[in-house]
Symmetry: C2
Subunit: 244 residues, 2 copies
DNA sequence: GTATCAGAGTTGTCTAGTCCATTTGCATCG
DNA sequence: CGATGCAAATGGACTAGACAACTCTGATAC
């Protein structure tokens, strides 16, 4: 019962022909190699610069090419695999053999939006801490992470977080709380100018957004976090087994 | 130790101002509402149609808007949550309360590429079955799934798959094999014209690509699958616990 | 030798416009 | 009343070009 869906040729946009041409080219080159300039491709492929740039933009978004303004366009390095585990960022990086660090970008006390309040099981407009951090591996920025926690449940959290880089360590040592279960969501989005700046990429480039809603042993919500990763640099990896 | 990264205003592209304007507008409207046409926005925001379209394209890619040629641009429905489990597509859909179906697009015997051979632990250029299927929930296409299995280990597989829609059922009943462990990868990509056509979306729109490398109880690789989901329509959901 | 500067070449952003494909609604015809 | 056909409006694809921002290199000055 094989469907004969579109046995006819697809209507293929011109920019996609350019993209396929470039994909073949990329396969023959090593990472770091220079590919022809936009204007050369415009002439070679008899098209406009806009069309060439659309093909290049998709390849950049897929992590196949890297563009450097003023310099040229290069074949990209392979993506980095990032495992999804119920451990802290710090432990996880060490396990994977990376030297990880964290920069605190912002830590403020604010009123919860309806969405945040519902997730943390607190009253709407109750006080929450919003902690924004930049995760780095081997010195290069990896993700922008924004955590929300109840200010009533964790009084003085910001002061502790400023001194200790690991949030999970603070939760364990100071508040005797450990997240043991979590529901994670994974979706795509486009980078805002702020995230693009922090992660050293372009506004609008595709991102992987990891949401984590974690709970303690009593089933109480502990934190709500979203982390923005560069979609052109990272692949998430999860291990599953049917034995549960 | 709060970093004062870019306390200065970001250089915000003009198209991003348009995008923010539209985001505010979307928040005030219900799903299905019509937003102003591209040409009206061009005048209202004193910009070019190219710039308006770039903002619209990102919002479409993020699942916030839907464009219908000849008709207009509309506020999109919320994304659909899709759980990641070690169960078959058929079971999984039933558990989530959806009526699922599958269309066999193509099923061929071919020689394994080096990559496929390595994943299936067979010799390079050995025979493999390549099975391409379209997954549908409630009648609308959800994902394009391509599976690779060793032709030597599962002789006659294609014939069985043509008769029975569930691959896992065939593996269990005919070959007495069950995948019990899997390593899943999740990354972003842009839709090719073929996938776009099958999933009723646009070439180049952002996709979530789920790779599954599954193993039987003896640790032997059973299949290598990649599934392409529309990034503007789906969110993957995974439950994690530290008790392992 | 070293530092500085100018210019050429690159990508980044944006504009204004053309032509095409599709949808929609209205007028017309039977 | 229904069906048909046409025209307007919409988004889709592409072109040609301007100017800005940035990088690199080579010539020049010290």
């Amino acid at each position: 019962m094989v469907l004969d869906l579109n046995h006819q040729a697809f209507r293929e946009p011109k920019y996609y022909q350019v993209k396929r041409h470039l994909l073949h080219l990329i396969d023959t080159l090593a990472p770091g190699s220079l590919v022809p300039t936009e204007r050369i491709l415009t002439v070679e492929l008899a098209t406009s610069r806009t069309t060439v740039r659309q093909a290049l933009s998709e390849l950049v978004g897929e992590g196949r090419l890297v563009r450097r303004q003023g310099s040229g366009t290069y074949v990209a390095e392979p993506k980095i695999a990032w495992p999804l585990h119920m451990t802290s960022f710090t432990e996880q990086s060490a396990a994977a053999g990376y030297s990880a660090s964290t920069q605190l970008l912002d830590a403020v006390r604010e009123r919860a939006s309806d969405d945040i309040a519902a997730r943390l099981a607190i009253k709407p407009a109750a006080a929450v801490y919003c902690i924004e951090r930049l995760r780095l591996v081997d010195g290069t920025p990896m993700a922008v992470e924004t955590s929300y926690l109840s200010a009533v449940r964790f009084p003085g959290l910001i002061g502790h977080v400023r001194k200790t880089s690991s949030l999970y360590r603070v939760l364990a040592d100071v508040y005797d709380t450990a997240p043991v279960n979590a529901e994670e969501t994974i979706e795509t989005a486009a980078a805002s100018p702020r995230e693009a700046e922090l992660l050293n990429t372009d506004t609008g480039s595709p991102m992987l957004v990891l949401g984590r809603h974690s709970f303690d042993a009593g089933g109480e919500p502990v934190e709500w976090v979203h982390s923005w990763y560069r979609g052109d640099r990272y692949v998430f990896v999860a291990k599953l087994s049917s034995g549960r």
